[in-house]
Symmetry: C2
Subunit: 212 residues, 2 copies
DNA sequence: GTCTATATAGCGATAGAC
DNA sequence: GTCTATCGCTATATAGAC
């Protein structure tokens, strides 16, 4: 167990937490190294630059997250609801058990879809693409009345509703005055799956082959 | 027509565009004043601080946007689809016609739900709250099988899918390889309304009065 | 109302000792 | 691998002339 690894991991944990709470831009390397109990220069030694640190924060979690999603997808029996659970549950699991810091990562990722930074957008597009396509294929088998573009649109809405639930729960809490518990994974999952499964099963907007 | 007003509006337009493209934090007052053809000190004269400018950028558009939503809601005949169109269409309209700069505002607002800044969150919560509640009431009449918390959850998903569509269209474009046109308001609206109306009409998760 | 000049602070990055 | 010290730059904000 080298001390290198400890510092590296401490930096990743600190960055993850601060990125989730205050945003990437607003988290200075000084704040990150202070929280990690490390030196400012350590970031450049281990990651080369702030951008390198950002990429490392994402890739540490997205790989395992997507593997878990695909594992659950391959075990699912065929219901649209099960496909949705395979996609959504692993994210909520991160908030529950969590190897310590990954609790925060869900919030970070929920918000990072809409990050203006080209670097972050490239990370999201590349890291999520293959997983996304596998889920679209799985849904295509279960929703034969829909063309592939329609399934893409609808899975886009699935991702949007999930991301919004994770990163904008404060709105639901404020408007429901305590009646909805946006931070409760079970409650959120139940409502998400019911709503989204019905949306996915809706009749096709266009008949197969029809043009817009 | 005072020159004051021109400078003030030019600053708001420039800020709106840069906030939408690069984010609020990443847009410096120097870049904003340069694009507006104004002096750096003008921001502090007209708005007091960057935070004052941010608030002014949002409140200039959200009021009229919400009035248009409520106008359409009051004219709707009763279909769930019409309620959804009253909520969504005015945002897409901003991208089309637009008094010049408001094209960009939709992108900015779609992303600002998940902004980490407490100031921005407060703006979103306060400015959208009354409109949000009116739409939830309207849906409650049309979906009598759902309790109020369930309607709140579902309308939260509606907002999430819409915000994601507006601000994360780059993902759909990338994954569909040109088959889906995330930037086309007509296409997006059609798919959104079909999907979301079916989600709203889904059977209740809990029977009335039941506890989680 | 608009300008220049500047105060004050923070940023990411790097060189070089240990 | 870790540290101190520092470079070069940019940020928001303000004072005071015009």
């Amino acid at each position: 167990m080298e001390t290198t690894t400890d510092t590296r991991e401490a930096l990743l944990d600190a960055a993850e937490g601060l990125f989730a709470e205050h945003g990437i831009q607003a988290s200075s390397l000084r704040a990150i190294t202070q929280q990690a109990g490390a030196n400012l220069a350590a970031v450049h030694y281990h990651f080369g630059s702030k951008e390198g640190l950002v990429k490392a924060v994402f890739s540490r979690r997205i790989g395992p997250l997507n593997l878990e999603r695909l594992r659950r997808l391959s075990e699912s029996t065929g219901e649209v609801e099960e496909v949705l659970r395979a996609f959504i549950e692993p994210v909520f699991e991160m908030k529950r058990e969590a190897p310590e810091g990954s609790r925060q990562f869900a919030r970070l990722m929920g918000r990072s879809f809409s990050e203006p930074s080209e670097d972050v957008r490239a990370i999201m597009t590349e890291e999520l693409g293959p997983m996304f396509r596998r889920f679209v294929e799985a849904l295509a088998c279960r929703l034969p009345h829909l063309s592939e573009p329609e399934i893409l649109w609808r899975f886009h809405f699935v991702a949007g509703a999930m991301a919004h639930t994770i990163s904008c729960g404060y709105l639901l809490e404020a408007y429901s005055k305590g009646a909805c518990h946006a931070g409760d994974p079970e409650e959120a999952l139940e409502h998400l799956v019911t709503f989204l499964a019905a949306g996915l099963r809706a009749p096709a907007v266009h008949r197969e082959g029809e043009r817009t």
